[in-house]
């Protein structure tokens, strides 16, 4: 299944990247490419919306960690929108809840 990747630039300075589908070793490279593309276009506050994601594995987590690292090296930030317990659990088990800013809604993620 193809990964859905939709960019919403209407909440400046935030760029929302809404992901839909399953993120695994097959689909994660497309997420990586999209994050690299957004950073190279000058986007610095990226909010990755995982509400439409049914499945996330360690490859997907690795891509998000890589995106965060890339953004911080440009004085930017990557935050995550997620309210689904099965996806949040993956962040919790790996301890990455303390690395990422996780919010339950786009409104909260873009409130700062």
């Amino acid at each position: 299944m193809e990964l859905g990747l939709e960019v919403d630039e209407s909440r400046s300075p935030y760029t929302i990247l809404a992901v839909k589908g399953e993120i695994d070793v097959y689909s994660a490279p497309r997420l990586r490419e999209k994050l690299v593309e957004l950073v190279s276009q000058g986007h610095r506050q990226i909010v990755v919306d995982l509400e439409g994601v049914d499945f996330l594995d360690s490859t997907g987590l690795g891509v998000l960690v890589g995106g965060l690292k890339r953004l911080r090296s440009h004085d930017g930030e990557l935050s995550i929108v997620c309210s689904q317990s099965r996806i949040l659990k993956v962040f919790e088990i790996t301890g990455l809840t303390t690395v990422f800013q996780l919010s339950p809604t786009i409104e909260e993620a873009t409130a700062g």
């Binding site: 299944m1 399953e22 695994d24 070793v25 097959y26 499945f55 594995d57 360690s58 490859t59 987590l61 690795g62 891509v63 960690v65 890589g66 965060l68 690292k69 911080r72 317990s85 099965r86 659990k89 993956v90 088990i93 790996t94 301890g95 990455l96 303390t98 690395v99």
Partner: protein, 161 residues
């Protein structure tokens, strides 16, 4: 223990979603497991298959990844085998703590810690002919009145009869 399923899939990333679907459907139909345990199983299977495909790729082999699903009264076991060179799971490098900025340099290596957390028991059986990852989930069989409409169940039943 009875073998309920043996699945041989090409060693390519696009097939992992199919393995997840088959294994989770089978576990949901056959075992008395809560939905979040099925989600755990899906993730553990996905991680093990990802590692198996990478091991085959590193070994330059076109061999398939083989998934076997066994059932006993109180548990199910899943074995995922590759034809890679094998590895020692106890010698994997540890990640820096999440509070360490260097943690961001580690994009990989989360799969095996995840598997250890998600299933009730896991055992890595590395050998020269490849690695097998054995995962156990405890829980009895599904009630007889459960969902018997799945195509998978029909295949198993027809093989048993």
């Amino acid at each position: 223990m009875d073998l309920s399923l043996e699945l041989s899939v090409p060693s390519r990333p696009e097939y992992i979603a199919i393995v997840r679907l088959v294994v989770s459907s089978l576990a949901a139909a056959r075992r008395n497991l809560a939905d979040d345990r099925i989600d755990d199983l899906k993730l553990a299977v996905s991680e093990a298959c990802t590692n198996a495909i990478e091991a085959n790729l590193a070994n330059g082999t076109e061999a398939p990844v083989v998934v076997r699903f066994w059932e006993a009264p109180e548990r199910m076991e899943l074995c995922i085998s590759d034809s890679g060179r094998g590895f020692n799971p106890d010698l994997l490098p540890e990640h820096p703590p999440v509070t360490d900025p260097d943690r961001l340099n580690f994009e990989r290596g989360l799969g095996i810690p995840l598997i250890r957390n998600l299933v009730d028991d896991v055992r890595f059986d590395p050998g020269e002919q490849g690695t097998s990852v054995w995962m156990t989930l405890f829980g009895g069989p599904a009630e007889e009145t459960g969902d018997h409409t799945s195509e998978i169940i029909r295949v198993i039943n027809s093989e048993e009869s």
